[in-house]
């Protein structure tokens, strides 16, 4: 009951087709932003949305420690609970934690074969069957295409979809659609790309590729004080 209500109120729904996921199995989504703008915050909200729908989320972080990732979740969860005046947050929290698994790797030792091996361990022993994967902090450079192609295969074979964070830089150049140069040659791998753009005191969530917002929907904004998306 509680979960359903939270889902209904979640402005992230606006980005997706009512109750269906914006991504299908094998699909890729990307959250673009400069560092410190709120990529991880948005990623964790996407995760929270899946968790509330009882989907298993595998969160992979290449920058942060487990402790820090956990803190993100706790923070986002508390803010969502505060905003919606949820009282029994502990029970709800305990109910969603089993659906989440965090894995952290050192960015320089991370590789897709390594990830595959880990996932096989989890899946074969029936420990955790991820339905959604989040990869935070994968560097997007000249070698990324190969890794992404491998991940695509992995996602397809495991019937899951993957969200990535992509860090943009001050010196990046953008094409007329707002896509940064560095991502142009990879854009066809992604089904959805959103860009977080700070404008004044607000952070706008702009869709560069994929499902555009319905016309009657207000623009999505990331509230810098809570880092939550609001409609």
């Amino acid at each position: 009951m509680l979960k359903k209500e939270l889902l209904f109120r979640n402005p992230l729904r606006l980005m997706e087709h009512k109750t269906e996921d914006v991504l299908q199995s094998g699909g890729f989504g990307a959250v673009l932003a400069r560092s410190g703008v709120g990529k991880t915050a948005l990623l964790v909200q996407l995760a929270m949305d899946s968790l509330l729908r009882n989907k298993n989320v595998l969160h992979i972080s290449l920058n942060d420690s487990v402790k820090k990732v956990c803190l993100w979740y706790e923070e986002v969860f508390r803010n969502i609970a505060d905003q919606n005046n949820i009282r029994q947050i502990e029970q709800l929290w305990e109910a969603i934690v089993p659906h989440r698994l965090i894995m952290t790797f050192k960015v320089d030792t991370f590789s897709v074969p390594k990830l595959k091996e880990r996932m096989t361990d989890l899946i074969e022993q029936n420990i955790f069957l991820p339905q959604v994967m989040l990869i935070d902090g994968l560097p997007f450079d000249k070698d990324t295409k190969k890794a992404l192609t491998e991940l695509k295969k992995l996602a397809e074979s495991r019937f899951m979809y993957i969200w990535f964070t992509v860090r943009t830089h001050r010196h990046d150049e953008y094409d007329p659609d707002g896509m940064p140069d560095s991502l142009l040659h990879l854009a066809d791998l992604f089904d959805v790309i959103v860009h977080l753009q700070p404008e004044g005191k607000e952070i706008h969530v702009k869709t560069l590729k994929g499902v555009p917002l319905a016309c009657d929907c207000p623009e999505l904004i990331l509230d810098p004080s809570t880092m939550l998306v609001k409609g």
Partner: protein
């Protein structure tokens, strides 16, 4: 002779088990001339390191008790609290940390930052203890200080700054280069007591120049003077020291030192560092609570002229009676003074005061503010606060978790029985997480605590220190009962057996709560239950919490509200309402969907990567929920939530799964509902018994 308090350092040596902190302490005591010979922890000479005052510790090579000792170094007085290294004894670590002003975090240069270093580090953060890092065992094969420094940064989030560079490593480890004085330091003599300072070896010059620049860069963030001096290229030693000191005390920087305690290398420099970079009692702000003012925080002043506030952080039963280790936060303890124990409200007269050096002691006349010492023959529990007449402060009450595991112990014979009760009396005074009681049903003595090992160690200590041979039962988990929904009750207790009868009716409801264990609320209006019987009602309800009607486990997390009732002018009594409350509880409880809760532990396993699949599998089989895994290159830390009942004997399982290469820590996390199948099994078992 006591020194001025700016020359005092109260420090602890905290570390992972086996990283060599007892050896380090031993060497410190040797170089400061407190002891005249060196023994090893697992020594062949049977004497053992001085700080390990307990037999058992000598045998296992671990330190359980935090003995306090003091030494002098370069006109500074250093009090050292030897903190236990095992996570099962964290209450002792926490108490020790509370009285420290600074600490040396000892890390093994081979093992690096391990799960327990993380626990210890978190505790230091909680008590805001500034620290220096000492990377020990640089002489071992596989020593890699730079990897440990990386781990300190990444795993523990320290802003590390390297103060020394090793000269050679592993078997070639000779000494260190000090980056402040820019000199090479070697340690000669049989016990490394002769410090030889020389010029830096040529082959290290470029690395040293780079590291020194790094040091000045980081340190100058905390000192404008140093920054200016760096720009003008006239950096002095004093400027660096004062900048590093400032940043260390505010916990914004962790200076890193290295050496090998076992090989007697690098100890004197760490002692210099303690005096240079760790704070004196004057530089630390301590707080007490004022119970008369809603436990508001009061800042204490490190001034011997002010009224006394002293904290008993450790007690020990010695040959001559109880020895109480205290830290004086404010005022002064003097022989013959009369002081008050805040917890008991009792007056205490100070007989003898002493300063301790592991097992030996030296009598002193007074203990001033900022100092650590010991009181003789005073009856108190650890964690008590002593004050002088007129003030009523208590040092921060620490969070004490409820025990999660129990064990029945049966003495072998009557001598053992007497000794056992002596031992239990002392242990429960020393350690508030260790509890003991006699089971009403079986008549057995039950001990309870925070984990299997926690209890095992106490059973061992009973055997060795008190000569009390006991046999132990199988450990049992402390389950709990609670309700899941609101339920009403309306119960009448009526008895007429000739003579005065008993009559009482209580109505109201009970509902689940999460914040507290038991709440009783009286919403009766119009005196349907006369006020004088209300406390009998509360007592009746409270009594029912001791043993739940479902499975006889303690009941928690229920709010009882009474809003109606009835009394009789002649037949109503305290007795009658007490009985009515018990009846009302049973009536409501049955309707409130009672469930069993079990303790869930947070377990962190550190294992080499190749075993992580097997380890995860073993935890999954134990109803564990894998929360996270952190990849650290060679090692990997897996964080899991597992029911305590599934963790018995896990250390053996883990050892055989990983060829002894993995280790785990366990601490209480939360109470959670037992799955239906398991609850049924428990019920079946309870029936059998």
């Amino acid at each position: 002779m006591e020194k001025a308090s700016e020359k005092v350092r109260n420090i602890g040596i905290s570390a992972h088990i086996d990283s060599g902190k007892t050896t380090l302490t031993e060497r410190i005591l040797f170089y400061s001339k407190r002891i005249h010979a060196i023994h090893d922890v697992k020594g062949k000479d049977g004497v053992g390191a001085t700080m390990d005052s307990m037999e058992l510790e000598k045998e296992r090579g671990i330190t359980i008790a935090s003995a306090a000792t003091y030494c002098e170094w370069r006109e500074h007085e250093i009090n050292i609290i030897d903190t236990p290294g095992h996570v099962d004894f964290t209450i002792e670590v926490e108490r020790a940390l509370k009285v420290l002003d600074g600490a040396i975090l000892v890390l093994c240069s081979v093992g690096g930052v391990q799960s327990q270093s993380i626990t210890v580090d978190q505790q230091m953060k909680r008590y805001k203890v500034p620290c220096l890092a000492f990377i020990n065992k640089c002489d071992r094969s596989g020593a890699n200080p730079s990897r440990v420094i990386e781990q300190l940064k990444n795993k523990l989030g320290h802003n590390t700054v390297v103060m020394q560079i090793p000269i050679g490593l592993e078997a070639d480890f000779e000494g260190v280069v000090d980056l402040i004085s820019m000199k090479a330091v070697y340690f000669d003599g049989i016990n490394g007591e002769i410090v030889r300072v020389e010029d830096i070896p040529e082959n290290l010059l470029s690395e040293i120049a780079e590291k020194r620049e790094e040091l000045i860069d980081v340190a100058s963030m905390f000192s404008d003077e140093l920054m200016e001096a760096a720009l003008e290229d006239n950096v002095t030693e004093e400027l660096i020291v004062s900048a590093v000191r400032k940043a260390t005390i505010s916990r914004e920087m962790t200076p890193v030192f290295m050496g090998s305690a076992y090989k007697n290398k690098g100890i004197q420099p760490i002692l210099d560092a303690v005096t240079n970079f760790l704070p004196s009692p004057d530089e630390v702000e301590n707080h007490a609570l004022d119970p008369s003012n809603n436990e508001a925080e009061v800042i204490l002043c490190n001034d011997s002229q002010k009224p006394l506030v002293a904290y008993a952080f450790k007690i020990e039963e010695g040959q001559y009676g109880q020895l109480t280790y205290v830290r004086v936060y404010q005022g002064m303890l003097e022989k013959g003074d009369t002081i008050f124990n805040v917890r008991t409200g009792k007056k205490v007269k100070i007989g003898r005061l002493a300063r301790m050096h592991a097992n030996q002691m030296e009598e002193i006349g007074k203990i001033s503010a900022g100092y650590i010492g010991a009181l003789f023959g005073i009856d108190c529990a650890s964690g008590d606060t002593f004050v002088s007449k007129g003030i009523n402060f208590t040092m921060t009450s620490m969070f004490i978790p409820n025990p999660v595991i129990s064990l029945a112990i049966i003495p072998r014979d009557s001598t053992a029985e007497v000794n056992m009760s002596k031992a239990l009396n002392r242990f429960s005074k020393e350690d508030p997480t260790f509890k003991t009681y006699v089971s009403e049903e079986t008549g057995d003595t039950i001990i309870s605590g925070m984990g299997e090992l926690h209890l095992e160690v106490y059973v061992e200590r009973m055997r060795r220190e008190y000569n009390a041979e006991v046999t132990t039962g199988t450990p049992t988990v402390s389950y709990r009962e609670t309700i899941t929904r609101l339920a009403e009750f309306n119960y009448t207790h009526k008895k007429q057996t000739g003579g005065a009868g008993q009559f009482g009716r209580i109505a109201g409801y009970m509902e689940p709560i999460t914040e507290e264990e038991f709440v009783f609320e009286n919403k009766i209006t119009g005196g349907s239950i006369p006020t004088q019987f209300i406390s009998a009602c509360e007592k009746g309800f409270r009594k029912c919490f001791e043993k739940g009607p479902k499975m006889e486990f303690p009941v928690t997390g229920i709010k009882i509200v009474i809003n109606d009732g009835q009394s009789h002018s002649v037949d109503s009594s305290d007795m009658a309402f007490y009985a009515a409350a018990r009846g009302a509880f049973r009536e409501g409880y049955a309707k409130a969907k009672p469930v069993i809760h079990e303790p869930i532990m947070k377990v962190v396993v550190e294992t080499p990567i190749e075993y992580q699949g097997a380890v995860m599998g073993s935890l999954n089989q134990r109803r564990g929920i894998i929360v996270a895994s952190q990849d650290e290159g060679y090692m990997c830390a897996i964080e899991v939530q597992v029911p305590l009942s599934e963790m018995f004997g896990y250390s053996t399982v883990l050892r055989s799964l990983t060829q002894g290469k993995a280790q785990f820590t366990m601490e209480f996390h939360i109470y959670k509902r037992v799955p239906v199948l398991i609850a049924e099994e428990l019920a079946k078992k309870a029936k059998k018994d």
